[in-house]
């Protein structure tokens, strides 16, 4: 009895430890990462605290999806994105187009570092956008119109309103054709837009237009007489663009802050010349869906458990031999906003690569997220790589490579007796026999 009280805590501790370790082990074994790709803390920087209420519909759509919004004035001296090397936020919303400089420790470099370390950003510019905001946008690959007074004007597809304005309140419905970015549900109503336009470099593979202006649009000062052809015109004008950086950080750049506003969200819209009047503009659906994409609720892929083995075996060998048959598999999951779901696609390819792909095979997917294929190792030895380079519009890029050497045959792996060589074997052995006989005869024949 006296021994048990001192004994039992130890046993308890041991049991706890064992369960802890084993559970940790099983969790790790089941899947390397079950956590969502992005956190929920977002910093919103505002020019004017009034924006918080005038754009409250947009903010409430974010917070209803679980985001923890932290509102600060852009000049707030306590604003800061990081505490030493630790980032305090997972996303940043810049609703402060006229800000000349940020407060606190935030500046252009800090924001770009924020993006370069894999965080998401929403930038809304406006007609009075400051150079700072435009410069950040330029760093992200979009070029706003150089003319500071220019706005996007469209005399054909402007929104019909009570008074005949200067046609800067335009409607746009030229969306990017990508369900993964804009959601499965078609956006019926056009989007109201009032602000400045930008262009993107077609050679830039990271940026793409999400919402383009119509063919008749141009970017100029609406109050001045147009003396020279506008520098930006037609569908080259992008109203809203997104950029997915190489580290999968996503940036939304919009030329209009007011398109996020409650007024535009609620307003009914009728395009000039159209007969239908939509009760509600498409802004809410469009901007909500795209914010889901921006904050990685959609289109985020994760690859794990890259496996390869010889056909018929289970263990991964350290090296293959030429002409081996092998099986390759990788599991790819997609973040659905709440959980990791198996990714389904028929266009994932694996390369067996040494300076150039020797084998290029499309992986076949089962519906559980496992992509697999089997092929024969080429008849070339060297240091190969299994490479999966999967870049698909709207999805995060997957770039997997795994190095594996391929060796030639060992000395005893060749065929012992080749049928075609039998004449040579015959020649050799008959020669030996003949030599022996000849020696015998020569020596003992008297």
């Amino acid at each position: 009895m006296s021994a048990s009280p001192s004994f039992s805590p130890l046993v308890l501790l041991l049991i706890t430890l064992i369960t802890l370790f084993s559970s940790a082990f099983f969790a790790a074994a089941a899947s390397p990462s079950l956590s969502p790709p992005r956190g929920k803390k977002i910093l919103v920087l505002l020019d004017d605290i009034a924006v918080k209420s005038s754009h409250s519909l947009y903010f409430s759509s974010l917070s209803s999806r679980g985001y923890d919004l932290d509102f600060k004035l852009s000049g707030d001296p306590s604003a800061s994105l990081r505490h030493y090397s630790h980032y305090l936020y997972d996303g940043l919303v810049l609703f402060c187009p006229s800000t000349e400089r940020f407060g606190g420790s935030i500046d252009q470099a800090a924001i770009l570092d924020f993006v370069d370390s894999g965080h998401d950003l929403i930038i809304a510019a406006d007609a009075n956008a400051s150079d700072l905001i435009k410069e950040i946008a330029t760093e992200c690959g979009v070029d706003f119109d150089e003319d500071p007074s220019a706005m996007v004007v469209d005399h054909l597809s402007y929104a019909v309103s009570e008074y005949e304005g200067d046609h800067t309140l335009i409607v746009a419905n030229d969306f990017i054709q990508a369900d993964i970015i804009l959601g499965n549900k078609k956006i019926e109503a056009p989007v109201l837009f009032q602000g400045i336009g930008h262009s993107i470099n077609p050679a830039n593979s990271l940026v793409f237009k999400v919402l383009s202006a119509s063919h008749a649009a141009y970017s100029a000062n609406p109050n001045a007489k147009l003396s020279a052809p506008p520098s930006l015109s037609g569908s080259a004008i992008s109203l809203v663009s997104v950029m997915q950086a190489r580290n999968n950080a996503r940036v939304l750049i919009s030329g209009s802050l007011s398109m996020f506003s409650n007024r535009f969200f609620r307003s009914s819209v009728q395009q000039y010349g159209a007969t239908i009047r939509h009760q509600k503009a498409g802004n809410e659906q469009f901007l909500t869906e795209i914010s889901k994409w921006i904050f990685h609720e959609r289109g985020h892929l994760q690859a794990m458990n890259v496996r390869h083995n010889k056909a018929g075996e289970v263990d991964e060998p350290p090296m293959y031999r030429i002409n081996d048959d092998l099986e390759y598999s990788v599991e790819i999951y997609e973040w659905s906003g709440t959980s990791w779901e198996p990714y389904v696609a028929n266009d994932v390819q694996v390369q067996f690569y040494m300076m150039s792909p020797y084998v290029l095979k499309t992986l076949s997917a089962d519906k559980k997220g496992v992509f697999s294929t089997s092929f024969k190792v080429p008849d070339v030895y060297g240091v190969f790589q299994f490479k999966v380079e999967y870049q698909k519009l709207g999805y995060t890029g997957l770039s997997l490579s795994k190095q594996i050497p391929v060796r030639p045959f060992r000395h005893n792996e060749y065929e012992r007796f080749i049928p075609t060589a039998y004449p040579y074997y015959g020649a050799a052995f008959s020669m030996m026999a003949g030599f022996f006989l000849f020696t015998f005869v020569h020596l003992y024949n008297k």
Binding site: D107, A109, L112, C140, V142, A245, Y381, P408, R410, H411
Partner: protein, 769 residues
């Protein structure tokens, strides 16, 4: 060794004494050969020296750990990325197997040596063996006196020391022993006609094939000698026994070495041996038929055979030419062709010409490497003609061919060294013999005209001329014992005849050759002085010139000894800071068996501008670039000096790289007069990046000029490590930019300068607001 060293035939005390003495002399020569090579260990430390030896060491380690079969099948995925290297099929395994066996032997005797120790001392041990083999070879040619002299000379010839100091663990370390030993066994077989030695000869040849690509020298030199013997009418059954088994057994054995394989019968390097093999058989057949036919019948047979034979020969030659002409390199490997035509490599294969040891040597290097031997060799050649035997004709042929080859490639100076030592040994020994002989004759003539029986002077180790002849004759009669069975003794009969009528004319002959005593003494003194110079030079060369392990460099300045240990510093950095699978591109050490394509890509990259180079490196999966730079400390063999070779090699594959683009008026320069292509090449940039910060001017101490472009930035590479003396610079390839910037239409300068937290107040105000 001991038994063959002691003649012990006469049974007289003098012979026994001479045998014991020469045995001890040989032991001392072995100790000398071993110990003169230890300077590097004493002055520096017991390390493996260059880069090839390190590779050999790594292979040896693998062998000792994994055993011979794994070694044979070893596919090394760490070298020659991304092609990998089949080690078993691309190295000459002789050195590795030798060291591995020595290590295994020591360990099984409970001597716990590390593999590295064994590797470091392999070369000195084998240089002792090589000296002994040289003794044996020279003894076969000209008697034991010449043999001892040659062995002593070879023990310390600088050319050989340069490749066999302790720590220089390269193929040549064992190959020179194998070379000399094979020649010895060939000459021994030629002298004795014994099948036993012929078999040993084939095995020794096999060891040579295992050890070094230079075995083709043997397989061409011996046929040449056989042909020489046949042409000069010296055909004998001994010649047949010396040669035929070597070709048959040797070729079979050579084909067993994976790196040689079918080359032993397929490449033109070996054709000469087969051709001579056929000729030898024809000659043997003719001799045989001559023996069984009457002279008249023989004449008829000759005309018959000749007419048929010529037709057949033409047919065979035509087929041979067709086959050879069909192959692109005419069946010869590039390196062999550059031996036949010294300008071949520089014209067609820059990759071979680029290796510095494949360049022709300069005249001073002869004096540096073989010193006084260069003057003694002609005397030795003359001595070989008095009289010319099979063995001495071989020695003459050896020296002549090796002189030619050493003139083509500085590397083959190594083959010349043993030949020069043998010839000089013969010359010195003959000269000593003549001088001491005449001294003795003069002394005897003044005191007692008794014959030569009882002299026990110390110089008797180098027997005087006449005595040597007797010894030789006795020896030949003794050793030719077995060959008598082969019914060939016409030569012996001739020599015996010369021996039998010896006593009458010997004194007269001696009187004729005797020199005045003063000049003899002077001559001996001068020879000793010459020898002393040689010894001093050799010791100096061993201690100063050839001992520095090239991984550690030293320089002596007014303020003492500087040690540049930059290479190991850099390697240590690499081993600590890079991942196991990271690839480091280096253009420094070019391997002997290059895979052209990859390397050309790499060199192409080096001669390209930065961006293009980055793309090439990235496609090769290279993460780091490793540059050797000597501009700060004046280390001349850096990458800039080798860069032109890279351009040439790259230009061979990518024709738009043109050598003239890198040259200004035919001059290779890196100062302000250099071409823009040169100044923009990656090699220039990586070498001189931030170089101007060292002294403010960017003065390159190797090129002795200020560099042309001083302040520039690297956009696609970042410097990650530079060693203390800037000799090694390591760069990392930057990853592709995370974002692609827009067209940067305005306020470019602002974007770069004012990125700090203080946005300058000059930010442009919108005038319309």
């Amino acid at each position: 060794m001991m038994t063959s060293g002691s003649p012990a035939a006469g049974g007289s005390l003098r012979h026994a004494f001479g045998g014991v003495l020469s045995f001890f002399i040989l032991v001392l020569i072995g100790v000398l050969a071993f110990s003169i090579r230890l300077f590097s260990v004493i002055k520096y430390e017991s390390v493996i020296h260059e880069f090839d030896p390190y590779f050999n060491y790594r292979v040896t380690q693998f062998l000792t750990k994994k055993g011979i079969y794994d070694f044979w099948n070893w596919f090394d995925d760490r070298t020659w990325y991304p092609l990998g290297r089949v080690i078993g099929g691309t190295v000459y395994p002789g050195l590795t197997l030798t060291a591995g066996t020595m290590w295994w032997l020591a360990n099984s005797l409970n001597i716990p040596l590390s593999v590295e120790t064994v590797c470091v001392f392999t070369a000195p041990i084998f240089s002792a063996f090589a000296s002994w083999a040289a003794y044996l070879l020279t003894k076969e040619v000209k008697g034991p006196g010449a043999g001892l002299t040659a062995a002593a000379l070879l023990a310390m010839v600088p050319s050989y020391i340069s490749r066999s100091v302790a720590g220089s663990y390269d193929n040549e370390a064992v190959a020179i022993f194998a070379l000399v030993n094979t020649f010895y066994l060939y000459v021994k077989t030629l002298n004795t006609g014994s099948l036993f030695y012929a078999t040993l000869n084939a095995i020794s040849y096999f060891y040579m094939v295992c050890s070094w690509g230079g075995y083709t020298f043997i397989i061409n030199l011996i046929p040449m000698h056989v042909l020489l013997c046949i042409v000069t009418g010296r055909y004998s059954s001994r010649l047949y026994i010396a040669y035929a088994p070597l070709v048959v057994l040797g070729t079979l054995l050579a084909a067993l070495v994976p790196v040689v394989g079918f080359n032993a019968v397929m490449t033109s390097e070996h054709f000469a041996s087969f051709l001579v093999f056929i000729i030898l058989h024809v000659v043997a057949l003719v001799h045989y038929i001559k023996g069984i036919l009457s002279p008249r019948m023989f004449k008829v047979a000759v005309t018959l055979v000749l007419s048929v034979g010529i037709v057949l020969c033409f047919a065979a030659v035509a087929i041979l030419i067709a086959v050879v002409a069909a192959s692109p390199t005419k069946g010869w490997s590039g390196r062999s062709l550059s031996l036949l035509d010294p300008t071949y490599a520089s014209k067609y294969i820059p990759i071979i010409a680029s290796v510095s040891e494949h360049q022709p040597p300069t005249w001073p290097s002869y004096f540096m490497d073989i010193n006084v031997l260069a003057f003694l060799v002609p005397a030795g050649i003359i001595a070989c003609f008095l009289p010319l035997s099979d063995a001495s004709s071989f020695a003459v042929l050896y020296i002549v061919t090796s002189v030619y080859f050493s003139g083509v490639m500085v590397r083959l100076m190594l083959v010349l060294a043993p030949a020069a030592c043998i010839m000089s040994g013969i010359a010195l020994s003959e000269a000593f013999g003549a001088l001491t002989g005449s001294i003795k004759f003069q002394l005897l003539a003044s005191s007692d005209p008794q014959d030569n029986a009882g002299d026990a002077t110390p110089v008797s180790v180098l027997p005087e001329n006449g005595k040597a002849k007797i010894d030789k004759a006795e020896e030949t009669t003794k050793e030719r014992g077995p060959s008598k069975k082969n019914k060939k003794k016409e030569k012996d009969v001739v020599e015996k005849a010369s021996v039998s009528h010896r006593p009458e004319n010997r004194r007269a002959e001696k009187k004729l050759r005797a020199l005045p005593i003063e000049s003899s003494v002077m001559g001996i003194l001068l020879l000793v002085l010459l020898g002393a110079f040689y010894v001093i030079h050799c010791v100096w060369a061993a201690a100063e010139a050839y001992s520095a392990p090239s991984i550690v460099l030293t320089s002596r300045t007014h303020d003492g000894l500087h040690v540049f240990d930059d290479f190991r510093e850099a390697y240590a950095w690499l081993s600590h800071n890079t991942e196991v699978d990271d690839k480091v591109a280096s253009c420094y050490r070019r391997q002997q068996y290059l895979e052209q394509h990859t390397y050309c890509n790499c060199w192409y990259a080096m001669s390209s501008p930065e961006k293009a180079a980055w793309e090439i490196f990235n496609s090769l999966d290279v993460k780091y670039v490793f540059v050797i730079f000597g501009g700060l400390v004046g280390y001349p063999s850096d990458d800039i000096n080798k860069f032109l070779w890279m351009v040439r090699i790259g230009g061979g594959v990518f024709p738009h790289i043109k050598e003239p683009d890198y040259l200004r008026d035919g001059n290779y320069r890196i100062d302000s007069m250099a071409t823009p292509t040169m100044l923009n090449s990656l090699m220039y940039k990586l070498s001189y990046y931030r170089f101007v910060e060292t002294d403010g001017k960017g003065f390159d101490r190797v090129r002795r000029t200020e560099i042309g472009k001083k302040n520039f930035k690297l956009t696609h590479f970042e410097e990650v490590f530079t060693t203390h003396h800037w000799m090694v610079r390591i760069y990392k390839l930057k990853t592709p930019r995370n974002r692609i910037r827009g067209k940067a239409k305005k306020s470019k300068s602002k974007a770069t300068t004012s990125s700090g937290s203080t946005i300058s107040p000059k930010t442009k105000k919108n005038p319309w607001q």
